[in-house]
């Protein structure tokens, strides 16, 4: 149940908007943030695994930008821990198979395998943080609208918006079903496959009925296959220029972080 509550909580937080009232207007440009995030990810992933120091410098972007938009880096760091299990599952084999020495600390040999393992974790967490930051600043609906302007098929963007809208409704319905089951199962937590099939089937039938009602309602309101998008309150000219300057500074910094010589401490 807590998994569902967490998911509903995340969706509600998204609705309220991750970026707070302190987010400057120039920092909230969706297109600029999408571009900066994409370039950040490309350059971050192009850093060799043995270059751990360089990867660490890339943390500057989520740290600085999170405080500029008022999200708080601690929150983003906590949420990015979610990616750890799959990364550890695949990366943990590196120390086991790559024993070549990378450096020695007080007589203890640290292998290249351990170094690359740490690098994989840093890469994974930083890239997750960049995405969490992007969605926290811009919101999912705005990103979908921008995707439409980038010529991504209308069918996909329309149903992405619909899916996002109905996710919390269905999760709420599922929560009600599970609560009803929990009240009647005398503490049994495990769910047999047959029971799971019946419950999922019930949820499926309710979903289909709901889809048909939604379709009728959409047709009644003149739906022609494309979700209408309201025009945003808009950024003024000066905000647009600031957004461009900000993006250019970030991109220049990423390029410098990627190719500048390593610093000796």
């Amino acid at each position: 149940m807590s998994k569902i509550d967490n998911a509903i909580g995340t969706l509600n937080a998204m609705e309220r908007g991750g970026a707070t009232e302190f987010c400057p207007r120039f920092a909230s440009s969706t297109r600029a943030n999408m571009l900066v995030t994409l370039i950040y990810l490309c350059l971050l992933l192009s850093v060799p695994l043995q270059d751990t120091q360089r990867l660490l410098w890339f943390a500057a972007y989520p740290i600085v930008w999170a405080s500029v938009v008022g999200v708080g880096y601690g929150t983003i760091l906590r949420r990015s821990l979610y990616v750890l299990p799959i990364i550890i599952f695949i990366g943990i084999f590196n120390p086991l198979f790559d024993h070549e020495s990378a450096f020695i600390v007080h007589g203890i040999v640290i292998s290249r395998g351990w170094l690359s393992f740490v690098s994989i974790i840093i890469r994974g967490m930083l890239s997750a943080q960049a995405v969490i930051l992007l969605i926290g600043i811009c919101g999912f609906a705005d990103i979908c609208r921008q995707m439409r302007t980038l010529r991504i098929p209308t069918f996909l963007t329309t149903q992405l918006l619909l899916l996002y809208r109905y996710l919390s409704v269905l999760l709420d319905e599922l929560r009600t079903m599970l609560r009803a089951r929990a009240a009647r199962c005398y503490g049994r937590k495990n769910m047999s496959l047959k029971l799971w099939g019946d419950m999922a089937g019930q949820l499926f039938l309710r979903s289909v009925d709901r889809a048909q009602r939604i379709h009728q309602a959409m047709l009644a309101r003149g739906f022609d296959g494309v979700m209408p998008s309201y025009s945003h309150a808009g950024h003024s000219g000066s905000h647009g220029i600031w957004a461009i300057i900000c993006s250019a500074i970030w991109i220049a910094l990423f390029v410098a972080l990627r190719w500048a010589p390593a610093i000796d401490f």
Partner: protein
């Protein structure tokens, strides 16, 4: 099976993204041709259904463990492979963007591994040939188990290939493949049983909702052609991405100087090096370790400064608002 950005390289991500985008464009075009006017809301709501169903774990018989559904075959059986592919891609996009489950650059890989392998490979090639009109529950279950197993195994093989091509893991290819396929065999059987259970329930209560009985023969040909194109694109793209040749800058330096690492010469450079050595906080440490420690301390300091500034700004803004 959601791959994180940390597990792939940029070229592999780019090739997979192009392949996924191509498949999405083809699926979009195919779905547009459909005569069903309710397909858009149905696909979206069933995508949300799959997302919700993934939240509930079921016990895997005989193992004592539990698992959750992925839903590619289940969606394909109700919507047909193209719309199901789009629905599952949407679920993956939302999981990536909102729940940080799977990386943004790895999104193409995840769409290929999970959505394409189940909806466009296993469904037309395994599920549809087995299932027939008015098939028995046993046949339905058998088709579900086989197709889900094939889908997950194909996805697992793709994960291994993408990770190895990205040069991320030191695990030998054969052992990595064995590990992943063995794990996903068990998951595939569980997924198949769960899919079969839902399909059997819906067929018992509302049989008209199952689309596969009419559409299976029409969809397989198109899916196979699309997959052949995607396979050629991925194969060609990945072989390019896996090139071990030096990059443009390294190539130019190597051609000019005979080596791709230039020695430091000149008084300015030597003085700078000496200055750097004298100011180095950890001169006795290896460059790699001192670099890592230095960068970590710098980032922690940056975090502290940024947090302080953000806090000060928040206090100032609140004071300003209260003053108004």
């Amino acid at each position: 099976m959601h791959m994180s950005d940390g597990l792939i390289s940029t070229p592999v991500a780019a090739v997979a993204a192009v392949a996924a985008a191509t498949l999405i464009a083809i699926s979009g075009a195919k779905v547009k041709q459909s005569t069903r006017s309710d397909l858009v809301p149905l696909t979206a709501v069933l995508g949300a259904f799959i997302f919700a169903a993934q939240m509930v774990n079921f016990s895997i018989p005989g193992t004592g463990s539990s698992g959750h559904i992925i839903g590619g075959i289940l969606l394909s059986a109700f919507l047909g492979p193209w719309a199901a592919f789009l629905a599952l891609s949407s679920v993956l996009i939302i999981q990536c963007l909102i729940f940080a489950d799977g990386g943004l650059l790895a999104l193409g890989c995840n769409i290929i591994n999970m959505a394409a392998m189940s909806c466009l490979v296993a469904y037309p090639l395994v599920f549809c040939p087995i299932i027939r009109k008015n098939a028995s529950v046993g046949r339905l279950l058998c088709a579900s188990i086989l197709s889900c197993t094939v889908a997950l195994e194909a996805g697992a093989i793709m994960v291994v290939a993408e990770t190895k091509l990205s040069g991320v893991t030191a695990l030998p290819f054969s052992r990595f493949l064995l590990l992943m396929t063995a794990i996903h065999l068990a998951i595939g059987i569980g997924e198949g049983l769960a899919t079969g259970a839902v399909l059997a329930f819906v067929r018992r209560t509302r049989p008209t909702l199952l689309s596969h009985e009419e559409s299976m023969t029409r969809t397989s040909k198109g899916a196979i052609i699309a997959l052949a194109i995607a396979a050629v694109a991925i194969g060609g793209g990945l072989s390019f991405a896996a090139s071990s040749d030096p990059d443009g800058l390294e190539w130019s330096i190597e051609k000019t100087a005979g080596t791709n690492e230039l020695p430091t010469t000149g008084t300015a450079a030597t003085t700078a090096q000496k200055l750097q050595s004298s100011t180095a906080a950890m001169p006795d440490y290896d460059h790699t370790l001192s670099g890592i420690i230095g960068a970590t301390i710098s980032m922690l300091a940056l975090w502290g400064i940024c947090s302080l500034l953000a806090h000060k700004r928040a206090v100032l803004t609140k004071t300003h608002q209260n003053g108004k």
